[in-house]
Symmetry: D3
Subunit: 68 residues, 6 copies
């Protein structure tokens, strides 16, 4: 019953989400020596205006980059 929670930006396709869940599960199953069956993954998709890095919103960092 290990649980892996990933917080990041939006993941644009179900194929990529599938890849995320498969990949993270494989790593954890391998390290813990557990059956994949008992590993759970939660993907959280966060809007760029709800995430800050270095004291600035990702939304603002993106806006500035696209201006230049």
């Amino acid at each position: 019953m290990p649980t892996i929670v990933v917080d990041g930006p939006r993941i644009p396709s179900i194929e990529l989400k599938r890849k995320m869940v498969e990949g993270l599960t494989d790593v954890a199953a391998d390290v813990y020596g557990f059956d994949r069956k008992i590993i759970h993954v939660l993907i959280r998709e966060n809007a760029p205006e709800n995430v800050g890095s270095g004291g600035r919103l990702i939304a603002d960092i993106h806006a500035e980059r696209s201006e230049t």
Copy 2:
């Protein structure tokens, strides 16, 4: 100030959410021996394409089941 966070699928009605919050609060207040007033609950509703179990997306597990 204990906080309970429940991560699960969408809960389809406010009556069920009410029941969740009441029930979880009662259990925690009882175990901690605290007044219900200081117990907080957060319900997180997750899309089936953002949750994985056993290395597979819940969305895919559901799709496969409904095919058969």
Copy 3:
């Protein structure tokens, strides 16, 4: 695969932890309409100097109370 995380103070006995896990699981299984088997619970025990309420450490609130 719903997961319930409880953050609170130390729970002083395994009997109480058992009661917490049983109780929370029953509530969630009932609300979601799921088998208890797929419900997971994590108990986090926090030191009073690592929790704040109203801008004050619980450790300080306790110390003040026991002085009076």
Copy 4:
């Protein structure tokens, strides 16, 4: 790489989100003695029907208040 996660109600403007991220980052950088660059913040906005306090949904507490 400290991470601060804030769970609260909806924040109605990007200016307020900016203020939240800046303020929390400054406090953490100051306490840890770290450069602001490595501090991350996640804002989670929760619907009043997904939050409980004292065993009741915030949605119900609000509804009751506006009735009186």
Copy 5:
């Protein structure tokens, strides 16, 4: 700045923790298309008496197994 949090049992060696962090980071960097540098991982190790599965403490499930 994606953050991955893994909640599971104790991981008995630093080599295994290294493998966990490397593996999870690689998967996330690949799926997001981000540089590994901005991916963070937190490992949380939970005592078997603080985790429940199917309404029972892992500590109790283990105890029962070793009896038989």
Copy 6:
């Protein structure tokens, strides 16, 4: 009832924890326009061998730095 969770390294004194809780609470109370009373803070202290950045354990990054 907003809740702020800070995940970072060990904070070596209660004075610093006090400062963290006061500071984060003030920022959140100000942004939400709420009374400080309903703001909660949780400090999580993580060992350097349980945190990864850029695919490497903080414990390893520190060890390498002190070698040079």
